[in-house]
Symmetry: none
Subunit: 225 residues, 2 copies
């Protein structure tokens, strides 16, 4: 009768409104301070402090101390993946709760998901790369083809630098709004970073939405049709 993996412990950790809000806020990939997270969660700092300690205990977030600030971020990409999966379930059944405002539409079109591009644009980019044979996919596994490496370098990404990193280069991530896979992993992050450098896209200050510039929008559709 004893369990396998202790799924309840993790789910209970996520299943508390204040903590869920914090984790959702961290999905942007940005590191946030305890005070900021307290604001996101709508609780006082003491309460937030307790929650964050628990999240850290459960290995859902990691901390970096810097001066008198503590910056919190999601511990691992797996955490982001799991949260996306949960959002998929919640979105499938609960349109009743979320009113679709203008920001919501922007979120569906393009948003940041643990520092990589998600939403319609993310799915489009992934599909384009796949169709042109620049990446390959076999079940869960995912990778760059030779042609793909050339493409990515031409795009301006330092592929050699990425290869040194410990994290997997390519990962697939299931989109909660589109219900299709998009590109995650260190390559996914690098691609988004490059697009920001090129000023194709800018981050919204208050949400995870990504706003494409008119120039960037045009260039994007030319690059990933």
């Amino acid at each position: 009768m004893k369990e396998g993996p202790d799924i309840a412990r993790i789910a209970a950790l996520i299943g508390e409104p204040a903590r869920a809000n914090m984790l959702t806020a961290l999905m942007s990939g940005k590191a946030l301070t305890a005070t900021e997270l307290a604001g996101e969660a709508g609780v006082t700092l003491q309460t937030a402090s307790g929650h964050l300690a628990r999240l850290r205990d459960g290995d859902l977030v990691q901390v970096r101390k810097q001066g008198r600030h503590k910056y919190f971020a999601l511990a691992h990409a797996d955490v982001a993946t799991t949260l996306e999966a949960l959002m998929g379930l919640a979105a499938g059944q609960g349109a009743l709760r979320t009113r679709i405002g203008p920001k919501d539409a922007a979120m569906r079109q393009a948003r940041v998901c643990y520092n990589h591009l998600a939403g319609q644009m993310g799915v489009q980019m992934f599909g384009s790369l796949l169709q042109r044979g620049l990446i390959w996919q076999e079940g869960e596994a995912l990778g760059l083809t030779e042609a793909g490496k050339g493409f990515v370098c031409d795009f301006g990404v330092d592929l050699d630098g990425l290869s040194m990193a410990r994290a997997p280069l390519c990962r697939s991530c299931l989109d909660w709004s589109e219900r299709r896979t998009h590109l995650a992993g260190s390559l996914g992050r690098a691609m988004l970073a490059r697009m920001e450098t090129l000023d194709w896209v800018r981050r919204d200050r208050d949400s995870r939405a990504l706003l494409f510039t008119s120039r960037g929008s045009e260039a994007f559709s030319r690059a990933f049709t």
Copy 2:
């Protein structure tokens, strides 16, 4: 502050040990009764009933009522995906325990279920009829096709007599050892009765097991391959 889907509600649903155990048990893909799930979760039936109602409310499981049993299964493949993601996070990724139905081999092969044929043979017959287009199935609904009517009459069943009865002609019944559907309803009962008349099969005196004669076994596999 409130953006995105209500992830906390779902996660809290999963994040309760008893419910998590139930969901884990359902990961096998098989449908389980409330009593079985209560055992899996280590709680009494009353408690389990409450939990299952909540899971059903949250669209994590779907239920199928059959006689005095209620069979529960995961609602969608998405639910299983999310649970797997959570298990991945829980790191201690362990074995799923599977509790199998009846231990008696004969019972598993063929037995009586409300006067119709159940067990491996029942599932086989159902599959054969379906594949050959003799019956049709749409969700819960089930019926005989024109070709099926001919087949049944040839088999020696008085279809006209059955149609007079109040009870539905065809019903699907979820097998408690195979956990797949087989043929129930007045037709299911008539089919079994006919097989007994033909001396294909005899009832065991002390149990619900059905013993196929050697001749009957041969004829059965010829008729329902």
